[in-house]
């Protein structure tokens, strides 16, 4: 058995096909079975780690979301465990119902977290749509420039990456200073706008900060897509007399689409769980509370209700990802690579 264990991996790595005759008494079937077992043994540690760090927390969060948060025993003034809640936590968020002292429920008063679920959902999608559209357009533009061959191209590529390399929390702090009332933004434009103190400007400030930070990410992914388009295709198009615009719409766009859809998918999923920028720049004030900000606020008030909210957030993001993959052809999970797909089209 021990020889098996040492030889097998070497053998499979060196030659997938049979190089020497099988030992007597060992059929090909038997060999395959042993290999399968061996593979399973090797995979087990990875599966265990995944189970511990991903499956367990997700399942535990879902279990928690069906428990009441611990409440105060009015007689003693001490906390007692909440017990099974059914779907009460989900109803609390989706229907924005809060408990009353009588045991019933009533629409959550403004100022509770429960009253902010739908507005936070709206805010989250607003940010996601606006930032992803802007980042895609700008990122495409930057990628096209970076794909050209010219002097100082590597310097440009490095420079473009700088915003992406800065941690989001640091980015947020930088923009807080820029958008302070006595900050640079107001000084340069000669305005006295309360950037973080009123609805429109606060959202605008966050969008600007997010676009500044993540456009390079889009640009890089799109650049990767652009670079796999063979130059001959363009040459052929030129010979056929296609204009620059036609080459862009007829060749570049369709061929880069697989990479582009993956980039958009990644960014959209990222934008849907935006937390750092609103949390640091506005603290969620003035219509900038996203779902993730709401989850973190709720954690301090009760884990179980927060678990329900994060499960809802998870489902929302899952649905968006599903739509992308199923209907818009973002191919981030299937086995064929974007390049293969691009070539066959």
């Amino acid at each position: 058995m021990s020889t098996d264990a040492t030889e097998l991996p070497v053998e499979t790595a060196a030659s997938p096909k049979q190089r020497r005759p099988l030992p007597r008494g060992e059929s090909a079937d038997r060999k395959a079975t042993t290999q399968g077992r061996w593979a399973a043994t090797l995979i087990v540690p990875a599966m265990v780690v995944l189970a511990v760090v991903i499956v367990y927390p997700v399942i535990n969060a879902i279990i928690m979301s069906f428990q009441h948060d611990s409440g105060l025993d009015p007689a003693t003034g001490f906390y007692v465990a909440g017990g099974f809640a059914g779907v009460a936590n989900y109803v609390h968020w989706l229907a924005q119902q809060c408990n009353t002292s009588g045991g019933g429920t009533v629409g959550c008063a403004p100022g509770t977290l429960g009253s902010q679920f739908w507005s936070a959902t709206g805010t989250t999608f607003f940010f996601a749509v606006v930032t992803v559209v802007l980042e895609t357009v700008l990122g495409f533009w930057m990628a096209v420039i970076m794909a050209r061959v010219f002097r100082g191209r590597s310097a440009l590529r490095a420079a473009v990456l700088v915003p992406w390399a800065i941690p989001t929390a640091v980015t947020a702090k930088l923009w807080v200073f820029i958008f302070a009332f006595e900050g640079i933004a107001n000084k340069i434009f000669g305005t006295s706008i309360l950037w973080t103190g009123s609805n429109g400007p606060a959202r605008f400030a966050i969008i600007i900060a997010d676009v500044w930070k993540t456009t390079p990410f889009m640009a890089l992914l799109i650049l990767a897509g652009l670079q796999i388009i063979p130059a001959e295709v363009y040459e052929a198009a030129k010979v056929d007399g296609a204009s620059a615009w036609q080459r862009f719409t007829q060749i570049t766009l369709p061929l880069v689409k697989p990479a582009l859809m993956v980039a958009v998918l990644f960014r959209a999923l990222d934008a849907l769980r935006m937390y750092d920028l609103p949390a640091i720049m506005t603290g969620g004030a003035n219509g900038t509370t996203t779902l993730s900000v709401l989850v973190v606020n709720q954690i301090r008030q009760g884990f179980n209700s927060a678990a329900a909210l994060s499960t809802i957030t998870f489902i929302i993001i899952f649905i968006v990802a599903f739509i992308f993959v199923r209907f818009l052809g973002a191919n981030a999970v299937a086995s064929s690579t974007p390049s293969e797909k691009g070539k066959t089209k």
């Binding site: 058995m1 021990s2 098996d4 264990a5 077992r37 399973a40 043994t41 087990v44 599966m47 265990v48 189970a51 511990v52 367990y56 535990n60 928690m64 428990q67 611990s70 409440g71 105060l72 025993d73 003693t76 003034g77 001490f78 906390y79 007692v80 465990a81 909440g82 809060c98 408990n99 009353t100 002292s101 009533v106 959550c108 008063a109 403004p110 100022g111 509770t112 977290l113 429960g114 009253s115 302070a180 009332f181 006595e182 006295s192 309360l194 950037w195 973080t196 103190g197 009123s198 506005t282 603290g283 969620g284 004030a285 003035n286 606020n297 301090r300 008030q301 884990f303 179980n304 678990a307």
Partner: protein, 426 residues
């Protein structure tokens, strides 16, 4: 090998089970009130650990060294947390939930004390664990008291003060109305009149609570239920709303946190500023300060006299899970003694909790704001002492912010605030 193959899934399962067991109960907290843990180890002595946020002024190490030199068998280990208050809170919650016996004594922000006490994590300081609070400022003791039981010892205090420009206003205002009438001076000098901290964060709770308490209102009644439906509470919030609408509070103040408001006052852009004592020395020494010699301090203005400051500061609590509570108690008494409180005041400018120190001429020579701060803390009202503080402060912030911005009427804001606080407490 054959065996071990069969065992692999089993091993995986057992690892998972271990993890499950370790994480189990992370969600719900159930507590046996007043029972078991609180009665154990009351007379035991031995090494203990003291936990608190980052020691920015380097006062704790010398203080603990001094203790350790005198107590060979009861050494104190200092565990330093981060500077972020939220992280300190979460770290304490996790360790108390895990019943960590090595978190013997912890520094607890005044606003967390009730929450931790209600969770059953703090040792009640009564009977043989009692401490002498008669020499302490009453408001600080109140902040450490939950359901008539003292759960922590006041360790450092803090109160708001009114910073004003003595070159423009020779005599500070005693009441809010007087202060508003002085705003013509600000207008004549083309600067803002009054500011506090009105961005939507904890500072707004502090300022809104001060406005309501100063006008004679309260946020929570004695029964822990909201008591905002009074004319006094309305008058208090109305003061802020009217001042913002009239421009007596400059419009940018709605983005102010402590440092923004200090910068504005420091550059001469404000006539009056509500802030904590920590900015006093900065205003005096900061290179950018344009008001070094032209500012002075006074108690916050109230309805007919000094206003009701919100109370800041920390309490020192003994964990119910501590194995050496007698030592822990001695250490708490040591830190709250006059000698150490003086050391804190001179080294770290932390406001003492002992009344007598505010009249100590030597200390006043070092910290000239002490007499004003004493008035402030004597009139201070702790922020709502409730186990649901995170929800309560959110309710106050959201609705006070909307009212100040003019998004909703004062009546509506107070009704919503009360409603949100009620549903938080269910």
């Amino acid at each position: 090998m054959r065996n071990s193959k069969r065992l692999a899934p089993l091993a995986a399962l057992s690892v998972l089970a271990l993890a499950l067991a370790a994480c189990g109960g992370g969600g719900g907290t159930s507590t046996a009130p007043g029972g078991g843990d609180a009665a154990n180890n009351l007379t035991d002595r031995g090494p203990i650990t003291y936990v608190q946020g980052k020691d920015n002024n380097n006062v704790w190490r010398p203080l603990i060294d001094k203790w350790n030199a005198a107590h060979a068998n009861e050494q104190v280990t200092f565990k330093e947390q981060t500077t972020s208050a939220d992280q300190q809170h979460d770290d304490l919650v996790q360790n108390f939930q895990a019943k960590n016996v090595n978190y013997d004594v912890a520094s607890v922000d005044v606003i967390w004390t009730a929450e931790f006490a209600a969770k059953g994590w703090l040792q009640p300081l009564k009977d043989q664990m009692a401490i002498d609070t008669s020499k302490m400022l009453p408001a600080t003791v109140k902040s450490a008291t939950y359901q008539d039981t003292l759960y922590a010892a006041p360790q450092a205090s803090d109160g708001g003060m009114l910073y004003y420009r003595k070159d423009l206003v020779p005599n500070p205002p005693k009441t809010w109305d007087e202060m508003m009438s002085m705003c013509s001076v600000a207008k004549a000098n083309n600067i803002g009149c009054y500011a506090g901290q009105f961005a939507k964060y904890e500072g707004l709770t502090v300022n809104a609570a001060e406005a309501i308490n100063s006008a004679g209102g309260t946020i929570l009644g004695k029964d822990g239920k909201p008591s905002l439906g009074t004319p006094e509470a309305k008058a208090g919030l109305q003061n802020l709303v009217t001042a913002y609408k009239d421009g007596n509070i400059p419009k940018e103040a709605i983005t102010f946190k402590e440092e923004d408001s200090r910068t504005a006052f420091e550059s001469g852009q404000l006539l009056f500023l509500r802030n904590w004592p920590y900015i006093y020395s900065l205003l005096k020494t900061d290179g950018a300060s344009a008001v070094k010699d032209t500012f002075a301090i006074a108690p916050l203005p109230g309805k007919d006299g000094p206003g009701a400051s919100s109370l800041g500061g920390h309490n020192m609590a003994v964990s119910v899970y501590s194995k050496h509570k007698a030592t822990a108690l001695d250490f708490v008494k040591y830190v709250t003694s006059a000698e150490q409180q003086t050391f804190f005041a001179t080294q770290a400018t932390l406001a003492p909790v002992l009344t007598s120190l505010y009249d100590d001429p030597a200390l006043i020579a070092k910290l000239p704001y002490l007499p004003v701060l004493k008035t402030s803390i004597e009139n201070a009202v702790p922020r709502p002492v409730t186990p649901f503080y995170p929800a309560v402060t959110k309710a106050i912030q959201d609705n006070a912010y909307a009212a100040i911005k003019g998004d909703k009427s004062v009546d509506q804001a107070l009704t919503d605030m009360g409603g949100a606080i009620s549903s938080a407490a269910q």
